[in-house]
Symmetry: D3
Subunit: 131 residues, 6 copies
């Protein structure tokens, strides 16, 4: 099994609804360092699983659509708590769409996508799915 991972980041504001979030119910923010991993069993003729340059560009575009934003105002998250888990799933779902539309130079080799968001040096969340 092979995997390729690219990393980027985004800076957002948001608030979280629910007693469980304590002081994080107030409007605050985060720098999310985001890692996107593509997995597959085989390589193409060029010796690659996925075009790492296009993968990095797609991740950058997905994050650019959110960075410098207040997620509380984003229609995509209306009525949804933008927890780190939910944001990890959002990014993974967008990357799965990119893979279906563009292939990222991977043909049909990618069998898994995993996204990790580091919200600080001491906390992170991940979501993994099939493309």
């Amino acid at each position: 099994m092979f995997s390729v991972t690219v990393r980027d980041q985004m800076m957002v504001a948001h608030s979280l609804r629910g007693d469980v979030f304590g002081p994080a119910q107030g409007l605050h923010g985060a720098t999310f360092v985001v890692e996107a991993t593509f997995r597959g069993e085989s390589l193409g003729e060029d010796g690659i699983l996925v075009d790492i340059g296009r993968a990095a560009d797609e991740l950058h575009d997905v994050l650019a659509a959110l960075t410098y934003r207040n997620l509380d105002d984003e229609p995509a998250f209306a009525g949804v708590n933008t927890t780190t888990e939910v944001l990890a799933r959002h990014v993974a779902d967008r990357l799965a769409e990119c893979l279906h539309e563009d292939g990222l130079g991977a043909g049909d080799r990618v069998t898994g996508i995993a996204v990790t968001l580091h919200e600080s040096p001491v906390a992170r969340a991940s979501y993994e799915r099939v493309p």
Copy 2:
């Protein structure tokens, strides 16, 4: 599949019995940087897998019971080599107990616990179990 990871550290002394350990048979010590991961297939209504604040607190408590100690004198490890692998299992087992007792805001969503101990920038060990 979702996962949430929290990180903390402990500073301990210990020695290891067995020729395989070479100079590490002498009394020495380590700063263990510890990462605890909780995995599960679904999120609760709040959009979380686990209450990350309580998870961090429980990890801190588990490590606080060992930090600034000489593990050679701890009854919990009598007759046991406190290798990085054994300590990873110890921490994972304590966190599984916490999950059973307290739930960590996760209901019955957690299906896996993994603990990694970094003993230095160039060496680490992990243990993974079901709760």
Copy 3:
């Protein structure tokens, strides 16, 4: 010359006024990883420059007063752009006050305070002053 550094973090929302900030003029947020350094020429009898536990506690308290907040609403920053540079100076000034009030176990040994805020893995700012 000796120095001692402690590290912590805070998660805040804010916006920045001025064309130079481009998209960062919108309300967004950041996880600031904060390092506070105390410098001095000599050690006390215990072999320490500063009580590192108290230094860590004071840094934590300074950051706790800001974390999970929208800095645009904080009276301390009324009419001021909360750039990374300005926040570094704010934290350094608060730590200098702590040092004057409490000493942090350092007597009059501390001759310099430096604070660095990492806003992401690729950008940071620092401020250094005499106590």
Copy 4:
């Protein structure tokens, strides 16, 4: 499930053939930070999965055979693109051979080997296999 990971690095030159590589078709180079992970279900009597010292030595030897080299001139890679994925598989295959020849103090406990090569802070690739 237990795992043990060791880390080292190598510095190499190479070029990559194929339009997909864009400017990386030119002769350039990389510092690869390499992590090798050994997995297994049980520990030996000493409380270890694998002799971490021997594992680190073997990884060092595998990387030393490549470091400070131009991989374009290495017979082992004739006609092969030395992508990060291919190099991860090469290192994993060499470590599997070491495990078969020498055991690395692990008896027959190791059931999986994974190798990750970080080519920069923002890109990495991995390969995982059974020994």
Copy 5:
């Protein structure tokens, strides 16, 4: 004293002439993680020392002129060993030129430029100069 630091990277091939370099006399390569720091005593009205976006862009352009290259073939380094020290000075000198030409939003506030190149997790070199 304030400072602002941006980080980027480049991947290059090169060889080094002189017995002191041992095996690094052969053609090999490196990923250099590069940090550029700008220092100054005061902030502008916007609360910034330097336009961090333009600083990051300039650093990226300086590194882009070298990345994916064999430095042995670059006229800029003819007859010069491209040690990490020499490359740090080269990048700092280019950034000083950018500062003179473009100002980077810093007016005449910048009084020092420092550049650090990390050649691996265990080795780095820096060069510091006045603009």
Copy 6:
């Protein structure tokens, strides 16, 4: 001004005497990640400040004399608290001796030595001196 930094680590046990140390008065331990920096105004003909390979070897030897030890039993530290500050000074003093004896390929170019010991991801201490 140029500088060159090498990094290594050591794992030791020790205890600290004095109420200020709280629970760290008990026998415990640490992994110290150690960075040694050499500074100087000029480079030699080869384009280096110091032979980085010899510098790394000397740092390794200095740390090897302490690693896997209980510092409470080391004659070199009799009657001295082995705080992070004191250990940073100890390593810097040993490296200054190496520089006087062996030169480390630096001629008389080195004008400053700085040593940083990271005791955990959140705490470190440094000592800087002239050679």
